[in-house]
């Protein structure tokens, strides 16, 4: 128990939490904006995976990490639009469309990986690039805090910034208002002249782009290669995190952080001689518990509101 304590209250652990939270946070924000527009984006997992591969391929081809990132974002955005096309134009069930995207991505990435790297498992034969780490001046001099907050991948800071930007977008801009009204009551929104379909398309494009950031981070920051199914359910975990912090970007951030802690814990308590299978299940178990807690909370709130009526 004492070792566990030592692990959790260490600078390394704090740093690791932010490191592993980054992809989950991007995906959580992606889930948030699509949910606000009234679409559950199950395809996040597949979008992240495709973007991760795109980042590796484009950065290897151009020898520029930034162009690689751009490639990942474009692929992510396009896949968000594809999901919108499936569900809004072809009128397929949103959940099934998401599943289709995931299936296509998990096989399709392997297919493409083999074409470019001649390996079905990992992309190490490609000389792909990694996005830079950033040392924050002044803060990195502060003991403990500096060690936790400074020296992260640039995308980690972008993910934190995105929380604020998402808040501004949703609550301080006309587009945000449109997105929320479309999600809450599409008929009412359409009656005041909002183009519901267009707004949903936009929301899903942004959602895809955010998932693209998450994917790029996986293969160009978290590690420096692409491996098959490397997102390992993070897109799904993000759906749960978003459900936990439903109404606000900040709460979603905190929820993502909880899953990040569970994930970091599973990485660092492997030294404690617990069975690795148990440790690896921690994030998934935490997700289910989180889902129950949140849903129960929402349920009791609703019941209370009804009583007051």
């Amino acid at each position: 128990m004492k070792t566990l304590f030592n692990i959790i209250f260490s600078v390394n652990f704090g740093y690791a939490v932010l490191r592993v939270t980054t992809p989950i946070l991007f995906a959580t924000l992606a889930a948030l904006i699509s949910d606000k527009a009234g679409v559950i984006n199950i395809g996040l997992e597949g979008i992240m995976l495709s973007s991760a591969l795109a980042g590796v391929i484009v950065s290897a081809a151009t020898q520029s990490a930034w162009i690689g990132l751009l490639g990942a974002l474009i692929v992510g955005t396009l896949m968000g639009v594809l999901l919108a096309y499936f569900s809004l134009d072809l009128k397929a069930d949103t959940t099934l469309s998401g599943i289709a995207i995931n299936l296509m991505a998990s096989g399709g990435t392997i297919f493409v990986l083999y074409l470019v790297a001649h390996d079905k498992g990992i992309s190490t034969s490609l000389k792909s690039m990694v996005l830079p780490k950033i040392t924050i001046p002044l803060i990195d001099k502060i003991p403990v805090v500096g060690g936790i907050l400074s020296g992260h991948n640039v995308l980690t800071y972008i993910s934190l910034l995105s929380v604020i930007l998402m808040y501004i977008l949703l609550f301080k801009t006309p587009l945000g208002l449109k997105i929320r009204s479309v999600g809450e009551n599409p008929d009412a929104a359409s009656s005041v002249g909002i183009n519901v379909k267009k707004v949903k398309y936009l929301a899903l494009a942004i959602s895809g782009m955010l998932a693209g950031f998450g994917g790029a981070y996986m293969s160009m920051g978290y590690v420096s290669w692409f491996s098959q199914n490397m997102t390992a359910g993070r897109g799904f975990i993000a759906l749960a995190a978003e459900a936990m912090g439903s109404s606000s970007p900040l709460a979603s951030f905190l929820a993502a952080l909880i899953f990040g802690i569970a994930d970091a814990l599973s990485n660092s308590i492997q030294s404690l001689r617990l069975p690795p299978e148990f440790v690896q299940s921690i994030p998934y178990i935490a997700t289910i518990i989180g889902l129950i807690v949140n849903s129960a909370k929402a349920d009791s709130k609703k019941a209370k509101a009804e009583e007051e009526k």
């Binding site: 069930d93 096989g107 399709g108 759906l239 997700t287």
Partner: protein, 359 residues
């Protein structure tokens, strides 16, 4: 009603054709021998008894998971836990096969039922979580898949592992536990008979029994079901228990019929394939074997293609994705349907007006 069914069949076939066309374009783009590759994909499984046997062998687990998913989808429950249920079902069968000694016939029967029970528990959990706390079943079942995977691997590794083998595999099954093969020159096993029986039972259950009616009503219109006195919550839970049980049996049958020991290091993903099969079959148990056969045929063809030519079998993933969307897409070919309905309607009014005139 009949016309509607016809339209669904035409649309399904059109969706399949279109996704194959996309696959063909991809193959054309990446392959140096596209003709050979496409021929292997489409005709390869027919090239020998063994290869066609492979199709039937793969059809068995796909039919199980397809049935499991279609039962749950009929009640409009997007429980995606069939994959975890299938995996843990196989682990459960391995436990009984290795830890108990029983006479033949009884041994695999007990193992399969135990595997089914574990599967039932897996799919029941998201159902209970939804009923009690309104937790979204999609997310919770996805998480459970991972938990069951790790739990299963833990059990195999720590309690049933063959330490003499290089990888994490279980000890060999005793001959009493294995399901016998039934067709010479192939690995087709008794599981085929079990699954055919299950298809027949489930068809009558879904379309001719009160419980089946309740499940379908709950899926089509939960409010109506509720007001007509159906205990919707109970139906939803029971449906997921049933679905999980079928998937669990599927895992158990697969491991006892096809393997001499438990050797999966990760999920074989048959639960996910079950979703594709269920969509192809439009959730109708009687059509599930057809969907499973088609998917298995495609898979075996793709495997042969990747072995014989320069195209990788993952191209199937793209075919599957497009198929799912197009078959489920309401708008796909709806223009054509509209036109036909319009034609019928106008011809009817013409007849009616003519009748009026003659009268």
């Amino acid at each position: 009603m009949h016309k509607k069914l016809n339209f669904e069949i035409i649309r399904t076939i059109a969706a399949i054709a279109l996704s194959l066309l996309v696959a063909f374009i991809i193959i054309l783009a990446v392959s140096k021998e596209p003709g050979e590759a496409f021929k292997m994909l489409l005709m390869g499984p027919l090239s020998s008894v063994r290869h066609f046997g492979n199709v039937i062998e793969m059809m068995i687990p796909l039919t199980f998971t397809g049935l499991a998913v279609s039962v749950m989808f009929q009640a409009k429950q997007f429980n995606l836990g069939a994959d975890g249920a299938f995996f843990i079902g196989a682990v459960g069968a391995t436990i009984i096969a290795l830890e108990m000694s029983m006479p033949p016939v009884i041994h695999p029967t007990v193992a399969i039922i135990f595997g089914g029970a574990l599967g039932a528990i897996t799919c029941m959990i998201p159902g209970i979580l939804k009923n009690k706390w309104k937790a979204n079943e999609v997310v919770s079942s996805l998480m459970l898949n991972y938990i069951m995977l790790y739990l299963g691997i833990y059990i195999i590794k720590n309690h049933l592992r063959d330490i003499n083998a290089g990888t994490t595999v279980s000890q060999k099954f005793p001959s009493t536990a294995k399901l016998p093969k039934i067709v010479p020159n192939t690995r087709i096993h008794v599981g085929l008979i079990i699954v055919i029986a299950l298809v027949v039972i489930l068809y009558f259950f879904m379309y001719k029994s009160k419980h089946g009616y309740e499940i379908r009503m709950t899926g089509q219109n939960p409010m109506f079901a509720k007001y007509s006195g159906i205990n919707v919550n109970k139906v939803i839970i029971n449906t997921q228990i049933l679905g999980g049980f079928i998937a669990g049996i599927g895992g158990a049958v697969e491991v006892l019929g096809m393997y001499s020991r438990f050797e999966w290091q990760t999920s074989p993903n048959y639960g996910w394939d079950g979703i594709i099969v269920a969509i192809l079959a439009r959730n109708n148990p009687a059509l599930v074997p057809v969907g499973a056969f088609f998917l298995a045929y495609l898979r075996v063809g793709a495997d042969l293609m990747s072995r014989m030519t320069d195209v990788q079998n993952e191209v199937v993933a793209i075919i599957q994705g497009i198929m799912i969307v197009l078959i489920d897409a309401e708008s796909f070919l709806s223009y054509w349907k509209k036109k036909r309905t319009f034609k019928e309607a106008t011809s009817k009014t013409e007849i009616a007006s003519q009748n009026l005139k003659t009268n």
